[in-house]
Amino acid sequence: MEIPVLKQNNYLIASIQAALCDGDLIALREKLVNLVTKNRSSGVILDVSGLDVMDSFSARIMRDITHMIRLRGSRSVIVGIQPAVAFSMVQLGLTLHGVPTALDLEEGLAYLDSGPAPPP
């Protein structure tokens, strides 16, 4: 099942649903990297509000996507992690350290709009 990627302003938005397979996620990773390069997008939003479970594999792919996009000079943010999923993740030790997160699409856009954070 292919994951749709939308374009909004200079950003890309990917909505990840529950019934996705590993192959779909890997394909998404490739697709996003290509699209970011092609469109010179400055930001990517990964919307996981439809994801019922984030296991070690999905967490790894999310992290991969974030890193690869960063290597392309772009930023990314994961939005919509549900409370139950967040709770399970931390208990399983999947903290996604270093990966930016935001509440939802609106917050994700605001995050990307606000530009890179200045040094502390």
Binding site: I81, V85, F87, V90, L96, L103, E107, D113, G115, P116
Partner: protein, 304 residues
């Protein structure tokens, strides 16, 4: 007629089963004794209420209330003897318990009054059937296991209802003691007071995460001023709470961390550099506002 009898026999066997095993002829006997107990309903109920009074049970209820409940219990008692269905009795016991528990009725009272009823009815059966020893034996053989089942079911139903209420109250207390307070726009304050056990920590995390979503919070100030100490397990829970909140989309500032708690956090390997801690609640709120103020204003449009 034959079909009905067989069905009744099978159903009465439900409660006639005791250590002595199923007795197929109990159904007829039960019907007979129930008829007798029904005929003498008024006098037996009076006698029962008299005994309840002298045992000083249900002292917290009025005479009218006791009467109403007694009639109702009596009828249900006989109904159960007749049909053998414990299911109906179970749900009646739960309803009854729900009514009388708020009236401060104790378990011993409930068990006591059911046993008194059992005795009153037994005596009545005894005096009615004592002329013929065989008949009396048959009557009691049918009555005793049934009556004991009933007493057991009512007592257990009462205790289960009490436990359910206590659990419910504990949850409510738990929720009250860790309120999530929306203070300013996008800012939540979570003041934690008292000793936290793993269950409370769990509840705290859930409330916070849902609170973040419902209030669309970007920053949470979690204040531990009112927490005297935590053990390693709970400290771990607190760290997980901070991490989970971040995943949902909010930053957590921890304030009011006593030196002992800081020590525990370090001992379990928490990198305090990673966790944002500020001395007191006031300082935490100021830092939060600074964070929010910064986030709301785009720094430089040209970086897009």
């Amino acid at each position: 007629m034959t079909m009905k009898r067989t069905a009744q026999r099978r159903v009465a066997a439900d409660i006639a089963t005791g250590p002595a095993g199923v007795k197929p002829h109990h159904a007829d006997v039960l019907r007979e004794l129930v008829a007798h107990l029904r005929d003498n309903r008024d006098s037996l109920c009076e006698e029962w209420m008299r005994r309840i009074n002298s045992a000083q049970f249900l002292a917290s209820m009025s005479v009218e209330e006791i009467q109403a409940e007694c009639w109702s219990v009596y009828d249900n008692y006989l109904g159960t003897l007749e049909t053998g269905s414990l299911e109906a009795l179970e749900s009646y016991a739960h309803d009854l318990s729900e009514r009388i528990i708020p009236r401060s009725v104790e378990t011993q009272e409930v068990v006591g009054i059911v046993l008194l009823l059992r005795d009153v009815l037994a005596r009545s059966l005894f005096s009615e059937y004592r002329q013929d020893e065989n008949t009396l034996t048959r009557i009691l053989d049918a009555y005793e296991p049934a009556a004991n089942r009933i007493a057991n079911t009512v007592a257990v139903g009462f205790v289960e209802e009490r436990e359910r209420i206590i659990r419910h109250q504990q949850e409510a207390i738990g929720e009250l003691s860790t309120p999530v307070l929306p203070v300013r726009k996008r800012l939540l304050i979570l003041p934690i007071v008292g000793i936290i056990d793993p269950q409370r920590a769990h509840q705290l995390t859930e409330q916070l995460l849902h609170g973040i979503r419902n209030n669309r919070a970007k920053v949470v100030v979690m204040d531990l001023t009112g927490v005297p100490e935590v053990d390693a397990a709970v400290a771990n829970h607190l760290v997980q709470t901070v991490e989970a909140a971040r995943l949902v989309g909010a930053d957590v500032i921890v304030t009011g961390v006593a030196p002992e708690i800081a020590q525990t956090l370090v001992t379990i390997g928490v990198d305090l550099g990673k966790m944002r801690t500020i001395g007191d609640l006031q300082g935490g709120i100021e830092e939060a506002e600074r964070l929010l103020g910064y986030m709301v204003t785009p720094i430089d449009q040209s970086t897009k």
